[in-house]
């Protein structure tokens, strides 16, 4: 593990700052100095120092006052207090406020080495704890489902309830609301949690391929079938099958799946031998299937088979109080992934995030935070880091035709994602080929 740390020495005496600066340089640490508590706080705003060595006696703001401020604003920052002989009382006070340790100066060089060794062990344990905690959360449940709004509380309370039975569940929600995460959480809470969870996006796979993916095929039944292949309905054996965008499947496939759900048997393409299957089905859609049933577009019998329990996942604009929590979660996630350190959001920036309507929901928010973290040059996200978020004027224009609305929305998503077609298609929940066709159809051009 890397033992190099970022350290700031805060002391009004230049000679002490310089001594410690050169000492820590010998260990390869990143070292900075500050001659006052005010300067230290200024520097902390721009760089996430992990460890501060603070002299207790300083004019203006003393070491204890600085410690209090640091512990309030940056609780993860470790502070070592340096104090003179005879000021034990202050040292004890510092420890109570949250100092990690204290050193009575002058100290032996090996005392400092010992303190650094202890900090290194503590840092390693914290890193291990965070890793294991994150890992545990990831493999157990409720991974990225963040929220404390009443709408999300309803969803949270439903998950453990429905998980225990084997009934089919239909998750309904707009694109990017986290339907797959809810499906995973249900699986993780169920008795099938130790068995596979397989997710298939029905909208992304052409019908002919979807059939072979789900049911499997025998060797030589069609061109390219050079060997027999088991379908996901068989592979999932005992686990949970998550069919996303179930509204996209053809009526023929609806019949096939309905039969599977009723008989619990499948016959792979080219075979005559049915195979027993056992899985729990969770489906998801962003479409109004009830309406499509009424219009005769979607099969009624299949709809009732997959919709024993319906869970509605609210769009982000209906649970805006969850935005700060989600932002905090994504900041942590992307700081870990990018090894950058951004842990604050200015009030203006948070206001912008709350005001925006988030048509792409949590997924769009996540992308926005990822992009802002990657491009951010300080530890605080400001409104300038989120300049790519524009209040969507479109949704307030009531005189636009559906076609013009679609065109403008696609254009907007493409621009927000720097014309990255894969990323934009993901947000729009259509496949890349379809998006390319739409770009061509609407003659959209990169500005």
């Amino acid at each position: 593990m890397d033992k190099k740390m970022s350290i700031m020495v805060v002391d009004d005496e230049a000679i002490v700052r310089e001594s410690l600066f050169h000492w820590f340089k010998k260990y390869g640490h990143v070292v900075e100095t500050a001659s006052s508590g005010f300067e230290a706080l200024e520097k902390l705003e721009t760089y996430p120092f992990q460890l501060l060595f603070v002299d207790i006696k300083m004019p203006g703001m003393n070491g204890i006052e600085l410690l209090e401020k640091v512990k309030t604003q940056y609780p993860d920052t470790l502070v070592i207090i340096i104090t003179a002989y005879g000021s034990i009382e202050s040292a004890v006070k510092a420890m109570r406020i949250g100092a990690t340790d204290y050193l009575l100066k002058p100290f032996k060089p090996d005392q400092l080495s010992l303190v650094m060794e202890r900090i290194s062990i503590q840092k390693r344990l914290v890193t291990q704890y965070n890793y294991l905690k994150g890992h545990l959360e990831k493999i157990t449940r409720f991974d990225n489902i963040i929220g404390q709004s009443s709408e999300m509380e309803k969803v949270f309370s439903l998950i453990p309830e429905v998980a225990q039975s084997d009934t089919s569940i239909l998750l309904v929600g707009e694109t990017g609301t986290g339907k797959e995460l809810v499906a995973k959480a249900i699986h993780a809470e169920s008795l099938r949690s130790h068995l596979p969870f397989i997710a298939i996006n029905c909208g992304a796979i052409p019908e002919s391929l979807l059939e072979s993916e789900l049911f499997g095929h025998q060797k030589g039944v069609f061109t390219g079938a050079t060997r027999a292949r088991k379908g996901f309905l068989e592979v999932v054996s005992g686990g949970t099958l998550f069919l996303d965008e179930i509204g996209e499947i053809s009526p023929k496939m609806q019949i096939n799946l309905l039969r599977v759900l009723e008989e619990k048997k499948i016959t792979s393409i080219g075979s005559r031998e049915p195979v027993d299957v056992d899985f729990r089905l969770i489906s998801a859609t962003r479409r109004d299937l009830k309406k499509e049933v009424a219009e005769g577009i979607f099969r009624e019998d299949f709809f009732y088979r997959i919709n024993v329990i319906m869970i509605e996942i609210p769009p982000l604009r209906k649970r805006k109080e969850d935005i700060p929590l989600l932002v905090e979660h994504f900041l942590k996630k992307y700081c870990q992934e990018t090894t950058k350190y951004v842990d604050h959001v200015t009030r203006d920036a948070m206001e912008l995030l709350r005001r925006y309507e988030w048509p792409g929901n949590v997924r769009e928010l996540e992308n926005a935070i990822e992009r802002a973290v990657v491009l951010s040059k300080s530890r605080t996200l400001g409104i300038e880091d989120l300049s790519f978020i524009r209040p969507p004027d479109l949704q307030f224009s009531k005189n636009l035709s559906l076609r013009r609305m679609e065109k403008a929305y696609i254009q907007q998503i493409l621009e927000e994602n720097n014309w990255n077609v894969t990323q934009s298609a993901k947000i729009l929940e259509i496949n890349r080929v379809t998006l390319h066709k739409m770009i061509k159809r609407y003659r959209l051009e990169r500005p």
């Binding site: 002490v16 001594s19 002058p106 090996d110």
Partner: protein, 181 residues
Amino acid sequence: MTSKKISVGVMPLGNISEIVLQVIADHIASCFKLATQILSSMEPPDVAFDERRLQYNAGIIIEAFESIHFDNHDKIICVLDKDLFIPIFTHVFGEARQGGTCGLVSLFRLMKNPDGSTPPEYQIYERAAKVALHELGHLLDLLHCEHKKCLMHFSGGTDEVDEMSLDLCEYCSIYLQDKRR
């Protein structure tokens, strides 16, 4: 160990035994494969003496000698028998800054064992050589090393200096070679 032509001067500050200087120079030549020369004696600057602590401030001596240009030598190792300190620390056996030009070795505390007894002379020479090589390592931009036996491991007491070997560990050797390429 290395090939680039760096020349090191070993300079006594005050009246220092010829043998110690020779042992230090020989070890630098054999361990770092650098041209080494013993220079004539100079005195530490008076301002470096701290009257309250009755010790010499290593930082002030280094700054004074780094401001002098030595024509024939890239790095200077000064050897003195005064007790050295850097502010906030009680004492140091030696001192040098990363990539600097002047390093210090103090014999003062190397002449005693942790229990107060006096070590045999050869052991004092060996300790002096180790501290000199360690400080020269910093001048050549080597960092402190975690390997207890490595020359670049930090030693807080003479017992740890005794435990340290006269060689760099594999990692520090490679690092030094890369630095000097």
